[in-house]
């Protein structure tokens, strides 16, 4: 996969090394130094550059195609659930307060 160009930088990585880290690189999972090395390799290597561009485009396409939006029925259902939790949580908080101070105590609103 080399394109015949020789890179004289001592820290330069070759195609095999760049491609070994291809997905970590695309997923933003490589350290800054390694990222820089790969970047530099891609600047000088048309073959690896094309591969990276392809994987990047495919990943974006998959993301766009497979994303979903929660239907309104689920949103409503979760709203009801969460409101129920809130009521239960407030009741539990009230139960923990001293009887004489039932109602508002700012200390109780911290988790």
């Amino acid at each position: 996969m080399t394109d015949g160009k020789k890179n004289h930088d001592t820290r330069a990585i070759d195609c095999a090394e760049a491609m070994r880290q291809l997905f970590d690189y695309l997923d933003g999972e490589v350290e800054a130094a390694a990222h820089e090395e790969i970047h530099r390799h891609l600047d000088g290597c048309r073959s690896c550059f094309s591969r990276v561009e392809f994987e990047k485009a495919l990943k974006a396409r998959v993301r766009k195609a497979a994303r979903s939006r929660a239907p309104d029925s689920l949103k409503d259902r979760l709203d009801v659930l969460i409101r129920g939790f809130a009521v239960a949580g407030e009741a539990a908080a009230r139960d923990r307060e001293p009887k004489t101070r039932a109602g508002k105590d700012p200390r109780k609103s911290r988790g």
């Binding site: 392809f54 495919l58 497979a66 929660a70 239907p71 979760l78 949580g89």
Partner: protein, 205 residues
């Protein structure tokens, strides 16, 4: 941590913010809209019950997805004998040449290059249904890795927490999931006319 009005608001805000992602993952796991809604609702209920045990609130998202995943597994175990039964491990049948299949290498062939940029053209022509059909056909553990990272944008560490496995397991599941997905898309390539000559000329195994 005590459950207070403040933590209740935190929980509600986090769940609302994650709703589309939760539903998306549930839909891809169950492959059924009604079941996906039930799964999310059950997982959110379980999450609320366990919320007091969550020590680090900054890990809420992976923690919530961990509960979603476990809820799915529990539900699936209950109906083990149903035809919908699917294995939940890394041994799932996945036609991916052991993780080495590369769609790019198949598309990037000298006899196709006269055409300009066949790889890019191919990506542009992929239909939403093609991609979703290919994802739905992946074994569950590979499917979920692809969903969390490629679709929901989780970092590897977050996905590892959500799945309860080491980061390297996430990496290998992702590798196989992507290779398998790419192979399914390649098999389909001839149908959309992008690589007619390629799919006819190359062995599909």
């Amino acid at each position: 941590m005590e459950v207070t009005a403040d933590s209740g608001a935190f929980f509600a805000g986090q769940v609302r913010g994650a709703m589309d992602s939760l539903y998306g993952a549930a839909l891809k796991l169950t492959r059924n809209a009604g079941e996906a809604e039930d799964l999310v609702a059950e997982a959110v209920g379980r999450a609320w019950s366990a919320f007091q045990s969550l020590e680090d609130r900054s890990r809420f998202r992976p923690w919530l997805f961990r509960i979603l995943t476990n809820t799915y597994i529990d539900r699936y175990r209950k109906r083990r004998d149903s035809p919908a039964m699917e294995s939940w491990d890394d041994s799932g049948a996945c036609d991916d040449d052991d993780g080495n299949f590369s769609l790019f290498e198949r598309l990037h062939q000298p006899f196709l290059l006269w055409w300009g940029n066949p790889e890019q053209e191919y990506v542009n022509k992929l239909l939403r249904e093609d991609i979703n059909r290919a994802i739905d056909a992946l074994p569950a553990v590979f499917r979920l890795a692809v969903i969390l990272i490629d679709v929901e944008g989780f970092a590897y560490r977050e996905a590892a927490e959500a799945l309860g496995v080491p980061v390297n397991t996430v990496r290998s599941r992702l590798k196989r999931g992507r290779a398998c997905l790419q192979k399914a898309l390649w098999k389909h390539a001839g149908d959309i006319g992008v690589t007619k000559s390629a799919t006819e000329g190359a062995s599909l195994r």
